[in-house]
Homo-oligomer: 244 residues x 2
Amino acid sequence: MSYSMPHDDRLPLYQRLRDEFAARIAGQQWRPGDAIPTEAELVKAFGASIGTVRKAIDMLVADGMLERFQGRGTFVRRKRFESTMFRFFRFQNEAGERRIPQARILRRECVVAPSAVAAALRLPAGAEAIQMTRLRLLDDTPLLVESIWLPRERFAALLDIDTHDFGDLLYALYEERCGQVVASAEETLTAESVDAMHARLLQIQAGAPVIVVERLAYGYDRQPLEWRRSRGPADQFRYHVEIR
Amino acid sequence: MSYSMPHDDRLPLYQRLRDEFAARIAGQQWRPGDAIPTEAELVKAFGASIGTVRKAIDMLVADGMLERFQGRGTFVRRKRFESTMFRFFRFQNEAGERRIPQARILRRECVVAPSAVAAALRLPAGAEAIQMTRLRLLDDTPLLVESIWLPRERFAALLDIDTHDFGDLLYALYEERCGQVVASAEETLTAESVDAMHARLLQIQAGAPVIVVERLAYGYDRQPLEWRRSRGPADQFRYHVEIR
DNA sequence: AAGTGGTCTAGACCACCTG
DNA sequence: AGGTGGTCTAGACCACTTT
């Protein structure tokens, strides 16, 4: 294994180590679920002292890219992004069980990205995008309508698959079929009165309040991969924050 | 200065130091804005090594209780909690300037705390609480209706002040008049259709969507100090999160 | 028993800020 | 110039997990 470290010499060593480790995760040399080399091995390989190596690892743990287990090792974290909506919506049935909602693709087409979407995904004006509309349901009750936009270039493989075979976990599909791994995301929450179309899809009364979540998902290389806007009934919504 | 450290001997030293430092901040021996002793002094006073003292300080910096400045020192952070609503609501006028909204106390009374409030504030059943209703406005436009509950015992001094003299920053008043300093908070967001009373106060249409923010504020000693529920028009609301 | 991360030491030298 | 936090070293010993 070659331990090249160009980077910027002005940066502290622990920063350069952090970047080097992050690059290995991004480059799939260290894969999700795998153990990374032990601290002792990293010390030897990079010629840094244990404290410095640990500080670099600390940062990646804080970033959510690594996970430590005393006595076992340090592992690349498996991301479960499909479940982030659990932060916002109560995806539970009456018994209080938490379940993965079903997913139904209502539409999939290839269009020129609207300028707002192109800007978010950093695509040149006029670039093509895959647009999908997806309905999420729990026990056949609609919970969320999602409008999803993907850069056509990276995700062209999706156009060859029957939408009935997409399954319930889209990000797993991105990874398998397109080699695109979602590493982080930004979300913006707003609320509005539901319009006629979404009222029909969500089977709620016209004008009822809905929560709108806009999400921009990024790969390990910090390039935007996906933009989506999701709407769900406000009475199914609850979000908790701690402020310091 | 006595450096007693009872605590739990099974805890790592850096944890015990963290707790000791946190206690000094809670006990106002280290006051907001003040520099704490230098790392070298803490090393000498506690007989720990520099790395261990730094780790304890690191934790309090991450908790937002301390702030470090290279070359200057480490300081107890001044909290500006009154501005947390800026996270959620657009407190801006047409020119985009960010302003502190005006505040108007609509009601202040002393009542037996309802059981939900008593539970949140960890008060015994039947304990008395101060209940206030406050309206926040920007350029005379209502933005937020707040229902606030305080343990009567700690906040009795508020009952002696004319509500017109409360000013726009409630947490500063708690500190000045009652010696109660808010150190952290938890907030839960939900949304609903506005009821008749709040529609009138907020001057919006009946049934329009409103965001509901419930906040429980804690002191440095981690005791709950205040519970409040705020409602504002959904179209003034926007919240942004990063997910990793 | 062997191997892993967790805690802790006792310094050194550097970068930055203040008087 | 003197003092502060920032970085880094080169270990030691402990707690926990796995074989």
